[in-house]
Symmetry: C2
Subunit: 278 residues, 2 copies
């Protein structure tokens, strides 16, 4: 189908948004639109300009026979600030306090729009790193992991607290939950991670970091590498943190069950962001 | 920012794709671009034409003061056929056979691109129905549920086999697994579903339908309604199906563990599609 420029802009934009972090040869679009390479390059320049203006990422063009065009999602600091502030406001709602000082966050994790925004926050930080797979642990981390993995164009593997017959052979480890000090088990399907894979760990919540430390031990069993760690909420009052190098979006500063008050602040997200810029 | 038509096309396309099933007043775009309403209407006509050509949905314009424009994702039969055939080819790979005739599908469920395509298949069938929330059961149905819910612009609730302290008060029921005849428990947070909500149930696999029947019983406890049921794979050799009205994408016709052969066919997806067209 021969498309006019305006139709081509719609089609190109859609195609790029649906294929993030994927190198697409320019000849693909030349054939798709029956247009000259030069026209498509002009279109791509307009898309690049607009994506950067929107703060949703950029378009990279790699010249040569093996080259092509790639959409790299990344979020502007302005957009990130807006999203993180929205999350903080939501998290500070006192009706979230459950007995024992736990927080009800099921509705936040259940909102695909918010989840996709958090995914875009993580994808932005880790876009420049070599990542082969995103790993999370059932259940609450799963939606976040998929959202990040979609934008990084890599698969997701899910660690479970029990091994299932439908997973085939599994590798399991015991780990000590950092806050409760209880010994627990986590398992992952043997065929789900290759040796030397670079793995991004994503989870919804980190207290002392015992669960994440367990996931790192599990990766050692697979001879895979930790490429990064991202958590949506980290707890503040932790005497001994078991994990050092992570990106947190928010930090739970205080939960006062008696006064019905929750204090949430920005995590270390922007520190990491600034380090990336250096 | 005053945008030229080509930049506006990029921005409008992105905005609509990121806000499916959401009515956006035209004045929003008038302000965003500093353009006349008539120009934006022309842009939207071009987007509508291209989305329909791509087979990814349509643009609906609702006139009047309370009106606006809405992107309704829906998939063409041609695109659906391509995706379902790709899934069938993947599922028929004999290395998926696990002891006991179970299938390894973790890699398919772990692929965000495939998951998003399956989500688009379901969103297409259920786009015309009134749906307030998508419900699934941990763990494998979760990615599919989010993908559908993103496109339908509704939240997700996750039923669990155990109730967690971080969910607050829960409603739980016992149900009989249709194939193993064992009594099991499922639970859902009390505040996650409102009375009279219209719920779309999504799961990865259905054998006799015991789990889905359990989810329907759970919805009765919430005085909510089943608006639809979608499964990725249904098993063929079921003596007594406990659930009637569902949409399946693929059907597992035969798993021959000895001969290492798997036969998969298209589910009832297209029947449903044709009924919708009537």
């Amino acid at each position: 189908m021969k498309l006019k420029r305006s139709g081509r802009m719609v089609d190109l934009t859609t195609y790029l948004l649906h294929h993030p972090q994927q190198l697409i040869p320019l000849t693909f679009f030349v054939e798709r639109y029956g247009s000259a390479k030069s026209s498509i390059s002009e279109d791509l320049a307009i898309i690049k300009e607009n994506f950067e203006w929107q703060g949703i990422g950029t378009i990279v063009t790699i010249p040569g026979a093996a080259g092509g065009v790639k959409y790299i999602p990344s979020m502007s600091k302005k957009e990130a600030t807006t999203i993180i502030h929205e999350l903080i406001t939501l998290l500070e709602d006192p009706s979230r306090i459950l007995p024992g000082g736990y927080l009800y966050v099921t509705d936040i994790i259940g909102n695909p729009r918010l989840v996709n925004q958090v995914g875009a926050l993580f994808a932005s930080v880790f876009a420049g790193k070599k990542i082969d797979v995103v790993m999370t642990i059932a259940t609450k981390g799963i939606p976040l992991a998929y959202s990040v993995a979609s934008l990084l164009n890599v698969p997701v593997v899910i660690v479970r607290s029990n091994s299932r017959v439908t997973e085939g052979s599994t590798v399991s480890i015991n780990y000590v939950s950092g806050s409760t000090k209880r010994i627990q088990t986590m398992a992952l399907a043997r065929r789900s991670i290759q040796k030397d894979a670079n793995v991004l760990i994503i989870d919804d919540f980190m207290k002392a970091g015992g669960t994440i430390k367990g996931m790192i031990s599990l990766l050692n069993e697979f001879q895979a590498h930790v490429a990064g760690i991202g958590v949506l909420v980290e707890a503040e009052d932790v005497s001994e943190r078991l994990v050092d190098d992570y990106v947190s979006i928010t930090r739970l500063a205080k939960v006062d069950e008696k006064e019905k008050r929750i204090e949430v602040e920005t995590g270390n997200y922007f520190n990491q962001f600034e380090e990336e810029q250096k």
